[in-house]
Amino acid sequence: MAMVLVILIITACIIFFELPSLKKGDTKTIWTFSLLLTIGVVLNIAISLKAIQFSPLDIIMYIFHPVSDFLKTTLLKK
């Protein structure tokens, strides 16, 4: 729980830091900033509460595993 508070404090600092520059920006920048920030905060909180254990690289490995297995069997097993 302490980590969640720390993450939220850091988020507040980020928003506080970026607020003047964001006020001058256009809507697209503000939307992208908020979306990315929300994703970051949610991810960090979920990881600190041990809710997410899986890695996005697992998806990449799954996509490529036919080719990588084929290369491994033909080239490494002689």
Binding site: I10, T11, I14, F17, E18, S21, L22, G25, D26, K28, T29, T32, F33, L36, L37, I39, G40, V41, L43, N44, I47, I52, Q53, F54, S55, P56, L57, I60, M61, F64, H65, V67, S68, D69, L71, K72, T74, L75, L76, K78
Partner: protein, 377 residues
């Protein structure tokens, strides 16, 4: 943010340190596992094979020297398809940024401070990267101009102090490995050494002030980086032997621990850790800068610096989940990563060249015109 311009000498330094990157720490182990004592041959062949890849990149950016890689892709493939491909590229660089932060945290926790959670190192390191990205490419290049002589000096001292411990019989018999594991290993080496150079296309040649000397700097930088890697791999095998190199996660760190001159020059491996942190920093910065710049160009955001802090949070989050253990990390880097980056480093530039040829796209001032046979009826 105003346009960033760096000189070709600064660019050469960036290329050298980028290519050395994380490879200086992790490559000797996995390559030695695959081809045993011929690992240095893999490095030499891999470096030489990077030259055609660089030529491919040069051919791609020649006509559009003011655009970055993401802009070139969107220009050639059109708005819809281009956005899909560039989003894939930005996802690749974002995931790699997270992976590099994991790597630095893992390395520092394993070798230097075992009781600290690795996320602490990741956050501290990321703060430096965020600040560097905020300051821009020019500041980063100037910093490297200061760090590079220190890197070179420590590297030469390292090589000098470790050569007394060479045993030539460790590298014999030479060329014992057959062709197939050699090819696999070369693919693995190039996946970590040459293919990531596509990320440099985000700043080359759009941020270089002199295109011809920048081109030369690109080639020279890659060759020097390859030379440094070959020396490290060769030294690992010559001094530690094949078994010790393949068993350890970070053989170069073990090499540095071996240095012991007289009774007073010992335990200096942390100074060596400094040079590795420099190279990892360069690599992590380039990936992160490519992510920020690429995302800004996809979404047509004027000042991409606003995105730095949220993306920094995402990379710290990624660094904690990206690899659960070392085995997963080496499996990913050995099997999947060369294919994943190969798509964006080999397949995509070739595709872009072919499509650009077909659509007859010249430099930005002329605009683009489709082939005549499609228009005439």
């Amino acid at each position: 943010m105003e346009k960033q311009l760096i000189s070709s000498r600064q660019f050469t330094i960036i290329v050298i340190l980028f290519t050395v990157g994380t490879s200086i720490l992790i490559i000797p182990a996995s390559i030695a596992t695959e081809v045993k004592q011929d690992a240095w041959i893999v490095a030499i062949i891999g470096t030489l094979l990077s030259i055609p890849i660089l030529t491919l990149f040069m051919a791609l950016v020649k006509k559009m020297p003011t655009l970055s890689f993401v802009e070139i892709t969107e220009k050639i493939l059109g708005s819809f398809l281009g956005k899909i491909v560039t989003i894939g590229f930005v996802i690749l660089t974002l995931l790699s940024s997270g992976e590099l932060l994991y790597f630095i945290g893992n390395f520092l926790q394993t070798e230097v401070m075992p009781e600290t959670p690795p996320v602490v190192f990741s956050i501290l390191f990321n703060l430096i990267i965020l600040f560097a990205a905020y300051s821009g490419l020019e500041v980063f290049a100037r910093t490297l101009e200061i760090l590079f002589p220190a890197f070179l000096f420590i590297f030469i001292i390292f090589v000098l102090f470790i050569t007394p411990e060479i045993e030539i019989k460790n590298v014999q018999p030479i060329l014992e490995v057959s062709a197939q594991p050699l090819i696999y290993s070369i693919l693995h080496f190039m996946g970590l050494f040459s293919f990531p150079l596509v990320v440099i296309l985000m700043v080359f040649p759009s941020a270089i002030n002199n295109y011809t000397s920048g081109k030369k700097g690109f080639y020279i930088g890659t060759l020097i980086g390859g030379l440094i890697l070959t020396i490290i791999i060769a030294l690992s095998i010559l001094v530690l032997g094949v078994t010790n190199t393949s068993l350890r996660t970070f053989p170069s760190y073990t090499l540095a621990q071996r240095i012991s001159i007289g009774n007073f020059l010992q335990r200096i491996e942390v100074i060596m850790a400094f040079i590795w942190m420099v190279t990892i920093f360069v690599r992590a910065f380039m990936y992160f800068y490519a992510t920020v710049k690429g995302l800004g160009e996809i979404l047509k955001i004027n000042d991409h610096r606003r995105l730095i802090l949220p993306l920094g949070m995402i990379t710290v989050a990624l660094s904690q989940i990206v690899h659960p253990n070392n085995m997963h990390s080496s499996k990913y880097n050995q099997e999947t990563w060369p294919l994943y980056i190969g798509i964006f480093a080999l397949f995509l530039p070739l595709l872009l060249l072919i499509v650009a040829k077909m659509r007859n796209i010249k430099n930005p001032e002329n605009g683009k015109s489709k082939n005549e046979d499609a228009g005439t009826t």
